[in-house]
Symmetry: C2
Subunit: 304 residues, 2 copies
């Protein structure tokens, strides 16, 4: 239903076998790319979901490890026969950054729509059925965390529809939220729809400290993808100084925000084998996964 | 003596197993990088020659496949404890491009010295003992071919030095070109040095057509590294239109310019297995090698 793929899991600088952090989301034929460090287009090629349906790019901030792959990505997207506009979301100064990077990617065969998001307060956007929220975080430069949510309507009350004698051809429009006229009566969908059911939520947060704001922002995520720049608790002071997180902080964030699953990503190049440290976050939040290239998951609504 | 490594051999867009074209040269502890497409820093890491001694970057032109890796490279160079200035050579508008790309790589711990080379005529520069020449080529935007040359002094005439009774402690200064005073006589080095001996020359040329200018520029290269965007002769018109070359054109260039060896590089992403076409250039110029990632060679002077 909602496809999620971690294209890379490196922070700061890539390693030969570790691309930089970025994420691809897919729902109903539309894709959203989150961050675009050097080498992101290689990850997309390896994954095989294609380029053409990428509708939007969400940039967290403008450190090179999160955005240097943009010119190459934009050119390769242009070679995929795309002609529809591409939307790029990001904090200030979005226009300055995109204009600078596209000096080496001129004459794209599609328009770019820039949507600069606030560095002061939460922003709300939508791509297809996916709601995008962005929240300013505490980093060394303006930086956003993103969440992607799919809402789900309530159940259609078949018994109510039958008891009122509503023919079946009207059920589907009602389920889709349409008001109908039937035998001189106006029937609003609320009459037949139960309360909204639990949807899906994926939160992506890198390059920030685990603040109260972030805790609230990622509350009840089905999947929390969070940076873990350093593994060892003894590196906490370094993490604080550089505005990053250690594994145990990310695990506590997952635990305290009610996440169902945690993927760690954005590993320091000095952290050669993050898997060696899995016991640290799992002792706090058991459903932790150490991110790796092309780690993929399909999230589905809980019941039919 | 002169180390040469092809870091990548792709043109236009990288493939999962093919990085974009760039080259690293090494002589006497100093290195020069030629072009810096997305992923170049990964090639340098895999090679293992390190970053810190890279003294200069030579950019051929500003299509993204030749320059998008610059911000990431500059940051990683900064993490290598480098504090000495880095020189970047390139055609106009060098300052505009580097200023744009470093929007996402601010606060580097070393200075960047920009040397804009002419798009009208040949330029001459020097890094360590390597002479750099750059020549404007025919492409869709300003584009330079580069050659890198090591000259070699003549042989020291031991018999002449002995017959004049010059003590051995004076030989080395004379060999290094110094004039000395001995027993009231002024001795110039030319008295004892034979004619300059054959040096070494590497030429790098991508994204251009095989013009007369290029033929003269790469004359007598020990190693000619030349683009071969397309393999098949039937793609000649496409190559002409896009200002690229086919394999047989590069092979004829090597043959007619008196090259000793030819490396083909900058393959179209549509050319999955360039090795399948090796017979085409080898039928014209037998000492042709199909470029591949980390293809490395050490060039040495011909005799001791």
């Amino acid at each position: 239903m909602l496809g999620v793929c971690l294209l890379g899991c490196g922070g700061m600088t890539p390693l030969p076998e570790r691309r930089l952090s970025s994420l691809l989301l897919k729902h109903n034929g539309k894709m959203i790319l989150v961050d675009c460090g050097e080498g992101t287009q290689i990850g997309i090629k390896k994954l095989g979901w294609g380029f053409k349906s990428i509708e939007a790019v969400c940039l967290t901030h403008y450190h090179a490890d999160h955005v240097a792959g943009l010119p190459g990505f934009l050119l390769t997207l242009g070679n995929s026969d795309r002609t529809e506009p591409l939307t790029i979301f990001g904090p200030p100064p979005l226009e300055l950054v995109v204009r600078a990077l596209t000096v080496i990617a001129p004459q794209l065969p599609y328009d770019i729509k820039l949507v600069e998001l606030s560095e002061q307060r939460e922003s709300y956007e939508k791509i297809g059925e996916l709601s995008i929220k962005a929240m300013p975080m505490e980093h060394r430069i303006p930086c956003l965390a993103y969440s992607f949510e799919l809402s789900r309507a309530g159940k259609f009350d078949v018994a109510a529809a039958e008891s009122l004698g509503i023919p079946k051809e009207y059920w589907n429009p009602l389920q889709k939220g349409k008001t109908i006229e039937y035998k001189g009566r106006t029937l609003v969908p609320e009459l037949f729809m139960g309360p909204p059911r639990e949807g899906l939520k994926v939160t992506y947060s890198t390059d920030c400290r685990p603040t109260e704001t972030l805790l609230e922002f990622c509350r009840n995520s089905d999947l929390l993808i969070c940076e873990g720049m350093y593994a060892d608790d003894r590196l906490l002071e370094k993490a604080k100084e550089r505005k990053h997180m250690i594994f145990s902080e990310a695990a506590n964030l997952a635990l305290n925000s009610g996440a169902k699953e945690l993927w760690l990503t954005h590993f320091s190049p000095s952290l050669k084998n993050p898997q060696d440290y899995i016991s640290i976050p799992q002792s706090i939040f058991p459903n932790t996964v150490i991110g790796e290239e092309l780690l993929t998951k399909e999230l589905n609504f809980k019941d039919k």
